[in-house]
Subunit: 158 residues, 2 copies
Amino acid sequence: MTKEQEHLQDILKKRLKEKGLKVTQQRLIVLQILAENRDKHMAAEDIYEMVKEEYPEIGLATVYRTVQLLLEMQLLDRINLDDGRVRYEIGHLFAGDMRHNHHHLICKSCGKVTPFEDDLLEELEAHIEQDAGFHVLDHELKFYGICKECLQKQKKES
Amino acid sequence: MTKEQEHLQDILKKRLKEKGLKVTQQRLIVLQILAENRDKHMAAEDIYEMVKEEYPEIGLATVYRTVQLLLEMQLLDRINLDDGRVRYEIGHLFAGDMRHNHHHLICKSCGKVTPFEDDLLEELEAHIEQDAGFHVLDHELKFYGICKECLQKQKKES
DNA sequence: GTTATTGCAAAAGTTTTGCACCTGA
DNA sequence: TCAGGTGCAAAACTTTTGCAATAAC
């Protein structure tokens, strides 16, 4: 287990205790799997399959309930790639290297999802706080289009 | 019917004919309802209920199929507010007043959704085309946070 | 007349829930 | 001990699909 994973686990344990909730194997393993799979945008079913390898008795419902809990504790980010399954990844607040906000480029041709790093949104968030009086906690930005590879494929074909 | 609504209908008729598809009452009415309800972020079920008032025989499946078709023809935008129902509105390309891109502010406290206009993303899209070689066709930007009213309510309570 | 389209019902897929049994504190 | 958590199965929802009947061109 990496240092970052230990750190995440400690935060989870602390927040669970604060709320009088219990530290269970299932909760620790779900968090662990997500930490080992940054930027993989995992759906509940994906997490379920991976957790089963380490803890075969787990139920899918537990994964859903755990993910919900981790979201509320702000340990996860939720992403929706419009394929009918909600996806999750370790929250950007807990990036070990304090990386930038990251967004998603979704190719309409091949479906590939690429992360894209950028900080430009901070300026926009400042506008929103000022103009609309809306206190921004989080954001989700997706770009739909055609990826480099598909563009090249299209060129060849024509 | 407003001038804009006639314009939308004409575009739909033209594009249907181009593709050898048929101009049906159902398609015209679904588009009409969406045009009458800009910025309402309507889910399929909402559209179905409103269309039924004018055309009671319509089926929910037809609404789903029509919305899919209108999306492909770029007459609609799709929005996902993470409540498990996909929503639709008349595409920003067809705003009568050539308004700016609009995004959504989603209040985590009361659930209210507010549109927010801004052009800042164009700069970012240029970056993406250049840095990642990704050709952007569309985007979706959502801000999660606490709205003005809920912030004031919180202040009073404390 | 021919082909696309529709409405209905059934199916598919994801997420939630009820409940008896367990487990962590 | 005992409140909170889990696994299972059933339920709840949204969205899609198959198909016979219908409407558009």
